[in-house]
Amino acid sequence: MKILVPVKRVIDYNVKPRVKADGTGVDLANVKMSMNPFDEIAVEEALRLREKGAATEVIAVSVGPAKATETLRTALAMGADRAILVQTDDEVEPLAVAKILKAIADAEAPGLVILGKQAIDDDSNQTGQMLAALMGRPQGTFANEVTVEGDSVTVKREIDGGLETVKLSLPAIVTTDLRLNEPRYASLPNIMKAKSKPLDTKSPADYGVDTAPRLKTVKVNEPPVRQAGIKVADVDELVGKLKALGIA
């Protein structure tokens, strides 16, 4: 069984994003970029399934600019077998990403596609569910535990009330939540090895997908800033404040 893992190049999660002065977006010039953290978890899960013998090949895919090659090399250094870059300088929305992934899945016939639950830049939380719809296959979103057995996968999901378990017939789509695993670091020898692993470059047109955006960004603003308040000296003063707020 092959596993397809879509990975997105996003602003590093440690960087505080700044809105551009002209209100057109977030300033990404000279900002550290990394693999979307949920996608690292997805790569890790795919590798563990391969190591357990449940999968034979792990293919990383990214839709993005030439620089997304770095993100794919990171996936390869972690242990993915090969990679596909669908190169475009346009911003591609989740629906179009899902269409490209659908075309790749049609060609590669993976048993599982493991995505992040959410890209930390657009915070959309859509692509995996959309891909599942386009493929007509089941979805196990916000996965906390993934078990492949025969022709099905059991997914324990993180939901608002706690945890829920669903059983899906393969092929299936899984999206990762934070507690699924702790991603490994790529070792130096593996980073070197990754340089010679196969990486194909394609374009959205190769898959016949129109990436014209459906949502037009009218403007991007700074959120309202909160002012730091006061410091109280001790617990008694804090109790007084809580009383003034009417909650104590």
Partner: protein
Amino acid sequence: MKTLVLVEHDNSSVKDATLSTVTAASKLGEVHLLVAGKGCAGVADAAAKIAGVGKVHLADDAAYEHQLAENLAPLIVDLMGHHDAFLAPATTTGKNVAPRVAALLDVMQVSEIIGIEGDKTFVRPIYAGNAIATVESSDPKLVITVRGTAFDKAASEGGAGTVEAVSGAGDAGLSTFQGSELAKSERPELTSAKVIVSGGRALKDSETFKELIFPLADKLNAGVGASRAAVDAGYVPNDFQVGQTGKIVAPEVYIAVGISGAIQHLAGMKDSKTIIAINKDEDAPIFQVADIGLVGDLFKIVPELTGKL
């Protein structure tokens, strides 16, 4: 515009998240609801009483009992034949189902909106709330998830909707529900609590978290939240997590205990009316957003505070 709102429920009662979604939908036009579940006629009757609601579509079938997206999405797509917009609360249920509907309709979903500026123009946070985008949809139909804290709750009484049974294709045969482990708690639910006490990594372990945070929360009749670090370390279950990728809360008072204030945490709570922080590090980023701060050791402060309330 005719809107269809997914009612969030547990087959016995309507969940609060539905009410703010109804408010958002009513800004766009006529509000119809979908109650899909098993043995959920009572939910539909209750939903029909929500102020401003017209028709309530009731799909009562074992296939919808657990809100499996594979079964729900085709039903919703059918109903979208005569609706212009589908809105779901941005809960784990809504986030699971809505994008599946959007893709089947070939529509780009507008996720987690916090404002409506026109029939097709919406405001939503991106980059963990560090930027606020205004976007305009060019799709013929709309699929939207709604952040509950951004819209007032519609009144749960006073409406005079009519319930109409609908049937869908039922079980798509792709997925089955196996079980759930739902936390039972007497405390107020996080997303509707007036006061929240949240604990971070500094709480050491599950016992310490329970001994320090729970009694303080009980004194204040508060819900209990946590940072990701506290959840990852196993102090409390996943459904306690507040933040960019956890729950979004906006209580009257949010008390952060031993939480540093990473942007991912702030994303989930910075719309709280009053933020109180207890942290031993006076330079912790949480103090940049806190209205009231107390610098010191939580192991001393929290028991003293609980004792004095």
